[in-house]
Amino acid sequence: MKQVAQFAIDYWQYLDSDGRPLDELPGFARDPDEMIAMYRALWSTRLFDRKAIVLQRTGQLGTYASPLGQEAIGVGVGYAMSSGDVLVPGYRDQAAQFVRGVRMTDILLYWGGDERGMDFAVAREDFPISIPVGSHACHAVGIAYALQLRKEPRAAVCTLGDGATSKGDFYESLNAAGVWRLPLVFVVNNNQWAISVRRSAQSAAQTLAQKAIAGGVRGEQVDGNDLVAVRSRLEEALALARAGEGPTLIEALSYRMGDHTTADDARRYRSQAELEAQAGFDPILRMRAWMTSAEYWSDRQEEALHLELSAQVEAAVREYLRMSPQDRQSMFDHLYETLPAAYVSQREELADTAAEAEEPYLKAGTYDG
């Protein structure tokens, strides 16, 4: 018997949970403007999130998935990416989408049952969110392949959850990305839960980062509530990707502070104690503590920021609520580039049939999905 292969998984963290630096910080952290911009992004996601939940509770939005407590992952991803990179997100990655330039109104439209929320005005190569868990990993492979084929110094980023790492399509994608050394970074938001299934019931693997080993791909863990660490590790992985050094899988450790979606009630399956134990790890508090100690940030600024961002959120909500629904025939307008003759009569039939008066908001929360 001889040993033929060894592997190790590293864990990265720059700020401890009280915001104290554990090591020399990466370059971008020395730029106050940059750090303030990132901090703003954390808050704008959180304020948006709070509002979205209120909208859902008041019947003005459909089922919605909150990124509460995991905002640093999305913001870190968003800031590490260049505008020419391509994001292939899951449904809990608003933070990254906002940084990429997707409008709050778009995200509201999407959860509000309106396809126009996927027609982004910027980041037009980014994919809309993927509801079928894991399935979008394959798209990211195809995108990265296209970038590589055209020899463009760009990369794709695919974000998914801990639960998604159990899907075969995720694995097939990881494996293929390794084969072709694609410019692709997989970011796993390990928020410890997949609806009611805990991380330990999802896989016996002690880390999710080690899934990378199965594809011969670099894998590492990062503290997902440490925005400095997330951005820094993403930047490193993206630089390698763009330099032809192939894919990386980054497991960002975090915790789902909210329900799975607004249709879920997490109290059914997890204890208050577990939730409380996580409260001290909030990514925003951590950034604020560090920014304050670095004298980048003051309480006065904090207050102003909240006012400003709340106004932005309110404006987005107003725009969302003001939008009248699409014509019913719109459901045929983008089905094919040109509607085949076979379906023209159906489109007409649809235009002719007056449906009963319609209530465009969510009916009672009858499920969790």
Partner: protein, 326 residues
């Protein structure tokens, strides 16, 4: 006896059969302590333990595939796919294996499993949560596809599906999960599979439907009655194999048929019903068969879903069109 909803009837059937037959077990995502996202498996894990009420990893291919292995071992797995929109990774297992394990081994191994999934639109759920693709399964030889449309039929048909020695796809119309209540005696009595259910007798035309659309169809029949038109309403219930005799008999009597389903029109199960009528009932037909269905488009996000789903008004329109032929 308390009146229960369709989803409660599902739970009741599962609980009954798990109590009566220790080979029965339940597996799927979130079916354990959470009781499933619709609560179909509520309380089962507490009662029957974690070994028989199994939270799986997020792996739909595995869910179907491991159920096949369990079934071949003599267990009676009832696997849940959380929403039909996520059933597609399981098709390979159902088509290439479950449906043919008995056949390929000449009966040596068999596959008494049930694959349950909520399906259909109308609850304003997110993208990918509202489609009706039962026709995909109805085309696969060796499967049964069963769709209940009331609490009593959910109970009786699910029991029958679990006891059936062959694989059954059991699709639950989630729009009516909690829409109506009826008293369903918890007596372990299964309903027959492979047969249609006559929901309303009538002489002037036949309305054929299944699942949630039984609501709009029955409402249309009621409205027609108000106009003095007597419509017969048939719930297919088992869409594969199809009990065409009941349909043919009805149309032999009425001479007119409207088929109502949520799924997209082209190659939906309605096409099969219409084809059977064209083959074996042609000379009873006094009017063209009408299909009132979802459109051949992608199911829209929820703001427009009510425009997509067949409405009572569309059923009535079709019925009237049919009755114009003299």
């Amino acid at each position: 006896m308390a009146e229960i909803t369709l989803i409660e009837a599902v739970t009741q059937a599962l609980a009954w059969e798990m109590g009566a037959d220790e080979r029965v077990l339940v597996l799927g995502e979130d079916v354990g302590v959470n009781g499933g996202v619709f609560r179909a498996t509520l309380g089962l894990q507490e009662r029957f333990g974690r070994d028989r009420v199994i939270d799986t990893p997020l792996s739909e291919t595995l869910i179907a595939g491991m159920a096949i292995g369990m079934a071949a071992q003599g267990l009676r797995p009832v696997a849940e796919i959380q929403f039909m929109g996520f059933i597609y990774p399981a098709i390979d297992q159902m088509l290439n294996h479950a449906s043919r394990l008995r056949n390929r081994t000449r009966g040596r191994l068999s596959c008494p499993m049930v694959l349950r999934a909520p399906f259909g639109g109308g609850i304003h759920a997110p993208e990918h949560h509202s489609e009706s693709t039962e026709a995909l399964f109805a085309h696969i030889p060796g499967l049964r596809v069963v769709i209940p449309s009331s609490p009593a039929r959910a109970y009786g048909l699910l029991l029958a599906a679990i006891r059936d020695p062959d694989p059954v796809i059991f699709l639950e119309p989630k729009r009516i999960y909690r829409m109506l209540r009826e008293s369903v005696p918890d007596n372990g009595e299964a309903f027959p599979l492979d047969t249609c259910y006559l929901l309303r007798e009538g002489d002037d035309l036949t309305l054929v439907t299944w699942g949630a659309m039984t609501r709009e169809t029955l409402a249309a029949a009621e409205a027609l009655a108000g106009e003095g038109i007597s419509a017969e309403v048939i719930d297919l219930a088992t869409i594969k194999p199809l009990d065409s005799e009941t349909i043919l008999e009805s149309v032999a009597k009425t001479g007119r048929c409207v088929i109502v389903h949520e799924a997209a029109r082209t190659c939906g199960v309605g096409a099969e019903v219409a084809a059977v009528l064209g083959e074996e009932g042609l000379f009873s037909l006094m009017a063209p068969v009408q299909r009132v269905t979802g459109f051949d488009t992608v199911m829209p996000l929820y703001r427009l879903e009510d425009e997509y789903l067949p409405s009572e008004a569309r059923v009535l329109q079709a019925a009237h069109r049919t009755l114009e032929y003299r």
